[in-house]
Symmetry: C2
Subunit: 198 residues, 2 copies
Amino acid sequence: MSLDHILLGLLRQPASGYDLKAIFDQHMHYIWAAELSQIYPTLQRLEDKGWLRSRSADSKRGPARRVYEITPAGRKALREWLEMTPQLGQERNAALAQLYFLSELADLAKTERYFVRMREQLSDRLQALQRFDRLWSEADPSYPERLPSADFHIYLTLRKGLHSLGGLVAWCDESLRMIRARAEREKAADVRPVKKTR
Amino acid sequence: MSLDHILLGLLRQPASGYDLKAIFDQHMHYIWAAELSQIYPTLQRLEDKGWLRSRSADSKRGPARRVYEITPAGRKALREWLEMTPQLGQERNAALAQLYFLSELADLAKTERYFVRMREQLSDRLQALQRFDRLWSEADPSYPERLPSADFHIYLTLRKGLHSLGGLVAWCDESLRMIRARAEREKAADVRPVKKTR
DNA sequence: TATTACATGTAAGGGGTTACATGATTTA
DNA sequence: TAAATCATGTAACCCCTTACATGTAATA
């Protein structure tokens, strides 16, 4: 049901399916992903439901655009969703599941590689958010304390990304320290007995 | 594909579908969720594929248990999955989407309520993890530095939970401070003009 | 001339949830 | 005697992804 309500939220401003895809990719990628093949039928369904209305508009190239907009009934549904308690979903973290079983490989160097890669991916994302944060703060004198309400709420979602990615990068660093200390101990425990038994 | 490999990982120890459900709920809830209605057909499919084998075993009450176990081919598939780069999925965070649009309600008290509830849910989870962490550390003298390899990897997944939940609770606290400061300013800006225009 | 961007869709299939069906044994 | 636990499964449905179909206009 979440995609429905996200589309309602975005369609407080009129937009086509194609436009919405661009918004998902450019501005909401750290919150929700959606493909065009899911967006188009969802828009039709929401229009059938009376939560959206659409009109045809011509485009410069390609077929005519279908531009959707929220209706009063849609706005009511959106507000009801927003009044709900925060919708925390179940965890489904494949990367964490890999780590859970990674001792199967019986090779600490593989675990170290896992964290090196993980850290790279996370810190790329973190740096992108930090860059966005910096550009915003430089461009907008009201940032962050006196932002208009809509921007302030978006700013809070940005802070979430910075906090949780920051925490995860710190986790990687801590883990790498522990893994390397363990590797040292393994090496020491491995070499000495061999020498002794010779 | 992740559930397949998680089941392979768990079935290095023999277990029935019913047992696996209990493991998901009790030990893997912060990593992955699965329902019995998904587990049973998946086990059959993995057996057809040659990654699992099963035998019938009688139970004290209810129908006979079907106990599954990984095969050498399954272990190969598991290891290949573990060698893959960490499988970070796309974000799909409904609660964050709610916050993104929450200015629609035009009521900072609603935003404050959102964070109060969010903080409750997160700190419940955090406290459960902290409690588990504490009990483990008290029960196991090898904790955490000299844990056996399998336990050490599970410990690292636990640290992830502590880091990211800790970061999120800090985010809630920071947000609540900012929201309350904003509410103060709103009140000040609201009351004075009214008095003036009278 | 080939690729990219614009623009809308359908079809097939995978992954997951909710509800239903069945029935024995233990506990309250 | 009713409820909870043990135990296995099927059916219908929803959400999402990948692949396919179609065509125009600008850009490299």
